[in-house]
Symmetry: C2
Subunit: 219 residues, 2 copies
DNA sequence: TATATACTGTGACCAGCAGTCATAAAATGA
DNA sequence: TCATTTTATGACTGCTGGTCACAGTATATA
């Protein structure tokens, strides 16, 4: 029953054309000030047409972010899980950095759109798309960590406790990289930075003592 | 020669009144959409007067951020450094979280303003204020880490390598907290979160092997 | 083919905000 | 008291996000 009429296909193509136009404009340093009219012009359509596809400028941002999440999840799914857990984590971190760095524009938008106050202003269906991806990433990483716990290479702690630090570090590191802080001022190479952060994250998770600083308040 | 005329004092007072008004408005969830007119009204002055003190809305943001940095640095200076290095780090992390959490509005603005693309659009003098604080924080933390290296509790690595992870984690963690991600969805208490992140950061730094994954590429 | 109907694209238009500036008001001082 | 400088102001400008009435086009019907 999903018979994609030619019209429907064209309509869908338009949509991705708009997104492509948007992404190409978001690549610049002032991506936050890109106007809807600029996007329309880049996509060679009228401004009003943009609003036939997206109810607001923020929805364009959101769609870009979601598309990026889809890419990242896809890459995760293709990871080789038949390795020691710490190697899997390192590889996961590595491919994430690779994607974030090679897809500058989308990744930056994604990071910006993952703020709750941004998501809260979206339509319920878009909100759901975000939380779905969030859920999927959580499930995926949880699986890895749980195996680590069973095998004894990861301390036995609530999964959320193990994950929160890694999430924080990864997002924070991307922000640092994009802000130009790291590369320019510290004279550190990107590749080097990625390795260091990877080591640090793995060390942080593995180094969490199972019950030292937080005796058993696992209420 | 710094003879603060009554006029000059009043002018300075005005400025801090504007900042106070701004901060009180920035406390809401939509702080990014607070208008200059709202700030002016809150400060009980005309909109034009605001521009006698700040050349743009972003400059207000910047000043709020800088004031916050001053507070944080001040707190750092009062830390008790006569403890084991890891305890100092933990305390530093703890007081940072405390300040960031108790001064919600300013901290959020600060984090937002530390992006390079934001700073790049400021006046040179403001840019300098930012980099000065950056420098001061770096010097302070470097001192602690260097002592740790000498004492053997911190692996001997370039200071920048040790610091970058902590910076990333801290900023990322604050973003996570503010985004509501942590508290609401994972059922984790704030205090708990702070402890976990602190443990993770210290473990991450200490757990970096001196020369394992990055043999001696310290070119 | 001719006409009716639905759908799509459009840019003129509106509302709201950042930032300016001519002018009013107040302070200073002679 | 009046002249001069300094300060405060909000009406105004320009720009941008978002709307909408209408034009143009495809599809359906007779």
């Amino acid at each position: 029953m999903p018979k994609p009429t030619r019209k429907e296909r064209e309509f869908a193509r338009r949509e991705s054309e708009i997104l492509d136009a948007a992404i190409s404009l978001f690549s610049g340093p002032d991506w936050e000030q890109v106007t809807v009219e600029q996007i329309a012009k880049q996509a060679e359509i009228g401004k009003g047409t943009v609003y036939k596809h997206f109810s607001s400028k923020e929805e364009i941002h959101a769609k870009v972010a979601i598309e990026f999440n889809a890419q990242l999840l896809d890459i995760f799914k293709n990871l080789d899980l038949n390795q020691p857990v710490d190697a899997v984590l390192r590889e996961m971190i590595h491919v994430s950095f690779d994607l974030f760095l090679s897809n500058h524009a989308q990744a930056r938008v994604e990071l910006c759109c993952s703020r709750l106050d941004f998501i809260a202003n979206l339509s319920p269906s878009l909100q759901k798309e975000f939380s779905d991806y969030e859920e999927k990433f959580d499930v995926f990483i949880s699986g890895i960590l749980e195996r680590g716990i069973e095998e004894g290479s990861i301390p036995r702690r609530p999964i959320a406790h193990l994950m929160v630090g890694m999430k924080a570090t990864f997002n924070g590191a991307m922000t640092l990289i994009w802000s130009g802080d790291v590369i320019e001022s510290e004279g550190m190479e990107l590749e080097e930075m990625v390795t260091i952060i990877g080591d640090y994250m793995v060390a942080g998770v593995i180094g969490l003592s199972p019950s030292l600083s937080n005796p058993s308040k696992t209420k």
